[in-house]
Every structure is written in C-alpha cells, then in structure tokens.
C-alpha cells in the first residue's frame, strides 16, 4: 500500500473515532434539552437525529479506516520519532506559524489597538515570514514589506469607510 493510502487510512480511523465521540456528546446534550408538550416538539429532537446519523457514519468511517490498515498505521504515527518528524516538518511549521499570526491578529490585536495598526503589524510580520519581497540593491525586503503593509492597511480602511460607510473596529 502506498504512503498516501496509509495516511488516508489513519486519517479515516482518527476522524471516525472523533466523530463517534462527538456524536455521543450531541446525543447526550439533545436528550437533556427542554421540551414543551412532547420530546418531538422539543429543541433536542432534531439534534438527536443528527447525533444518531453521525454516530452511524462515524462508525462506518472508522470501520473502513481500520480495514484499510488504519490502526497499524496509527501505531506507527503515534511513536515519538514520527510525532517529532511531523512537528519539525516544514509545511506543518509553516501552517502553524501562519495560523498563530492570524490568531494574534484576530484575538489580541483587533479590538485592542486601531484596525490600521493591527493590520499593519499582521501584514508586515506575515510578509517578512513568507519572504514576500526579495532584497534589491537599494531597498531591503523588510522595508518593502513595511511599505506594502502600511499602504494596504490604509487603503482597505479608507475604501470601506468612504465606499461603504463602514468604520472598522
């Protein structure tokens, strides 16, 4: 079996198990929801059906994953060396760093400092991390990143303010 199929089998197993667990949570929550005359009228009736369907689908996915060798692959995946290799993988690191920058932008910067500055900071660090601009003989890459970040932030802010009458944050 090729590596892609192995990875897919492991993914199906993990996702199937998580789905079953989440469906159990949906079912338990649904059963405890208040109802007026009968449970059929109640808020929990439809979520209960959704939970039951998802638990069935999750079980089938887990079964398919295990049959395709998902458990064996999972055992391999869960070894310390594999996890370290995954964490050190360039693509994983890249996505995690980019995501962290977005989280800092949305959860910390926005709402605490003005939109234009929050956006400038986010764009500048993201451009620099991605090496969006290469160094030229006269302007270093980081300076071009800063100029682009400032101009973009102001353009977006004023475009929405003047164009749509929307003051952002």
């Amino acid at each position: 079996m090729d590596a892609r199929k192995k990875k897919s089998a492991a993914m199906n197993t993990v996702f199937g198990i998580l789905l079953v667990l989440f469906s159990i949570y949906i079912i338990i929550s649904s059963l405890s929801m208040k109802y007026f005359k009968s449970f059929i009228d109640g808020a929990g009736f439809f979520p209960l059906i959704i939970g039951c369907v998802l638990i069935g689908l999750g079980a089938v996915l887990t079964f398919i994953g295990i049959n395709a060798g998902g458990f064996a692959e999972l055992k391999e995946v869960l070894t310390g060396s594999f996890i370290m290799a995954f964490i050190k993988n360039e693509d994983t690191v890249r996505v995690l760093i980019l995501l962290s920058m977005m989280v800092v932008y949305v959860f910390i910067l926005l709402g605490n400092i003005p939109f234009v500055w929050a956006t400038t900071i986010y764009l500048f660090f993201t451009f620099v991390y991605l090496k969006a601009y290469k160094k030229t003989w006269i302007i270093p890459g980081w300076l071009m990143s800063l100029i682009t970040a400032i101009i973009t932030s102001f353009v977006i802010f004023y475009a929405f303010k003047l164009g749509l009458g929307l003051t952002i944050l």
Binding site: D41, A43, F46, P47, V53, N67, A68, L123, T148, L166
Partner: protein, 508 residues
Amino acid sequence: MSEVMTQLGYFGEAIGSAWSGANLLIITGAVLLGLIVGAIPGLTGTMALALLINITYGMSTSAAVAFMLGTYVGAVSGGLFSAIMLNIPGTPNAAATALDGYPLALQGKGGKARFGGIMVSCIGTLISCIIMMLATPVISNIALKFGKWELFLLAVFGITICGNLSQDSTPLKGWIGGFIGFFFAMIGVDGLYNGARFIWLPELTSGVTLIPALIGLFGIAEVLSVLQDRTPIQISESMGTILPDKDEFKSLMKPVLRSSLIGCGIGAIPGAGEDIAAWLSYSVGKSRSKAKELFGKGSFEGVSCSETANNACIPGAMVPMLTLAIPGSTQAAMFLAAMNLHGIQPGPMLTLKDPTFMYVVGLTLAVAAIIMFVIALGLTKPMTKILQVNRKILMPIIVVLTVVGAYASRSTLFDVKLMLAFGVLGFILRKANIPMAPITLGLILGGTADTSFRQALSLGNGSILPLLSRTVGNILIVVVIYTLVSGTIKTIKATKKEIMNREEPGQP
C-alpha cells in the same frame, strides 16, 4: 395562453431592470473582477463571492444582483486561463479543462484553446439561461404545493445527493459533511419554542452567523491551503493563432449543445456545482467523441465539454435556489445569502411576491456572459502578467479582507473570531477529505429541515403515518431512499475492493 402572456409581461419588465446603464457598468466591473479572481490559482469564485456579500449591502437590490452574478460568471470562466497556461486550474471547475488545455498550449495552440473555451463558456451560459427562464415558472408552480414535510425531505435530499456527487469514491464523507453542516445550523435558540441548543458562548444565542462561517470555510481555509503549497508556477506563453477554423467550429456544435444540457441539469441538483458538471460533461464527451484518442492529449472538444458545462451550471444552479431556496452550488449559496441580506427570500413564494425577479436573474446572467466573452478576449494577453501575481503578498491581504467581510455583517468582533474558527475547522476538514459543499448546504438548510420536520410531525400528531399519504412527499421519499441506497452500495463496493487490495497486494 394568458399565463404565457403574463410571463412575457414580467420578462419585459425585467429587461428594463436588468439591462439599465448603471447595471451594465456594474456587471462589466464585476465580470472583470471575477475573471481575475477565477484565473489566479488559490482564489476561488466562492471565496470571492463570500467576501463580496457584505460589499453589496450598500447597493440597491438590482445592483447587488448584477454585482454578484457578474462576479460569479467571471470567476467560473476565468479558471480556464490558468488551466490552459499553467496546468493549474484557477478554480476547481476548470480542472477538466487543464487535461486538454495545457497539452494544447504546449503544442502552440494555447490561443485557440483560450478563444474556444471563452466562446463556449458564453454559449453554454446563454443556452442554460433560456432553459432556466423557461423551467423556473413551471417548477415554482409545483413548489407552491409543497408543505412542511416536503420541505424537510427536500433538505435531506439536498445533502444526500450533494454528498453522493461531491466525492469520487464514496458518498460517506459527503454525507458526514452534510450532517456536520446540519449540526452547526442547530446551534443557538431553536426556531419553534426558543429552546437553547449548544450555546457554549453567550454570543452564540442567535446561532452561527452564516456569512462569517462561509467566509471562514472558503477564505481562511483556502489561504492556509495555498500558502502550505510551495509549488513554483511556470507559465506556457505560446499562443499561436486564436480563431479556430471552420471544421473545428462545426465539430464543436454537438458537444457544446450536449454539455449545455448536462451543465444546466447538474446545476439544478442541490449543491452539485460546476466542477461535477465539468467532469461529467468531459467524461460523456469522451465516450461520445469520434476522436477519443485526443482526449487528455490536447482536444478542443475536451476543453469545450468542460468549459461549456461549468458555465451552463450557473443558470441551472439558480433554478432550485429561486424556486425552493436550495442552492445548486456553493456560489449560488453565496448569492442566496446576499439576497437574504437584501430582504429577498427565494423559495416557492418568490414568484408570487416578485414575479420579475427570476427573469432579472436570467437576463443579468445572459448579459454577464456576453460581457465576459468580450472582456476575456481582451484579457487573453494581459493574463500572462496577472497570473504572475505574488501569492505570498496576495494571500495575507485576503486574510485582512476576510476579517473586514466577517466584521461587516453585524459589526461585532465575535463574528471575526467565529470566521477564523470556521477557517481552521475548514482547513482540518479539507485535510480529512471532507468536501465543503455539503457542509455549506447543511448549514443553510439545517434550520428549515429542523422546523419543517417538527411542524410536519405536529400536524400528524407526532406520527409519520399521516404524512405518507402525500404524493409529492412519497416521490421525494423514494428519491431520498434511492440516493441513500445507491450511495451505500457504492460505499460497500469501495470498502470490499479496498479490503481485497490489502489482502492481495500483488493485484492491481
């Protein structure tokens, strides 16, 4: 006869609204924007429309319709440029185009492939517009007879058929996506008795706001996927002559007509969308072609089949959206969200409340297709430069636009956080190969399915038996069961094959 005359009257009224000078200007700008978005790999039409929904807020309804539909037509058509020039489909619906478009470009026939693709995209949209305007009033009349039970069954049919079509091998993950979407639609206070459901945070009391969720699923998730991919782009610039000769024109007539019908039909299936239309049309075209051996190696017919069908899908996707409020594609779902923002409620009552609206939509799409033809021809050469745009600069800017787009709907920072959360979830689900279209459809139809089902059961005093005497409902039950059974058989077959392959690794 009088009904025909009445409809013609509505059609006449719609011409004035859809083809006003201001709207033509808006359509032109929107088509241009859509073409550029569609051509740049990583930017999809759905993402663009999700970001643009809130921009239409300050516009009049007819201007908003023109803007959204113009962008939609442009984005679906624009995908062919990168498919032919880069071998990377700008949008998923142009994936089949790349199979023959890129080999044609390598043979020095890239110009002809682009011209042919643009021309058939326009023709496909126009043919499908005519079918849409003829079919919508008929389906609307049938839809008026639908009760709560039928609406529930339609919602279930929507996500099951969408699940069936959105994955190649088995429908399992499509169905999971649909029911996950249903679950998200349950969050908040329920629509009948104000019962609290899954309110983890006080801000979720009114439920998951649709627009930020869609922006997250299609914006942030897409940005993360694109920035993870570090494949360098190489452009094939060889164009050759642009105009196909007379024989090539003649040979395309049959496939174009057939692909228009396929595209329109697939568009009318809830959630199916342009990429399925393109692939199906391509595969039918290949099986019917006299020059099968050219498919995959550089066939004008192959490019025509996929490009005609993906564009013909647009008007087709409007039919269930306008008549039943069930979008035929994810882009149509964005259009539905925009129309809701403007106080227009698509569904069976739309033809009674605003009988000209569907003709406005049809005529706007038709004029957008013609404008697309003109602009796309003009862009054939400059597109080489546009495609070289630095994605490392573009993608972070898209993130900022998603933030503004999410914030604009209700002016709360919580929506921005919700959007980011859905973006991360969308990225993870993509990695697990869960398709996005059923999730979107589930999110949109979940509320209707829930309230309709419970109301229908209340009418039957809690029993399902009285509901089984309804003819339309019974037809829908048969269709849903058929969809589920065929999907289950497909899943079992695929699982058996997988097990056999594992047990006998030597076998192919």
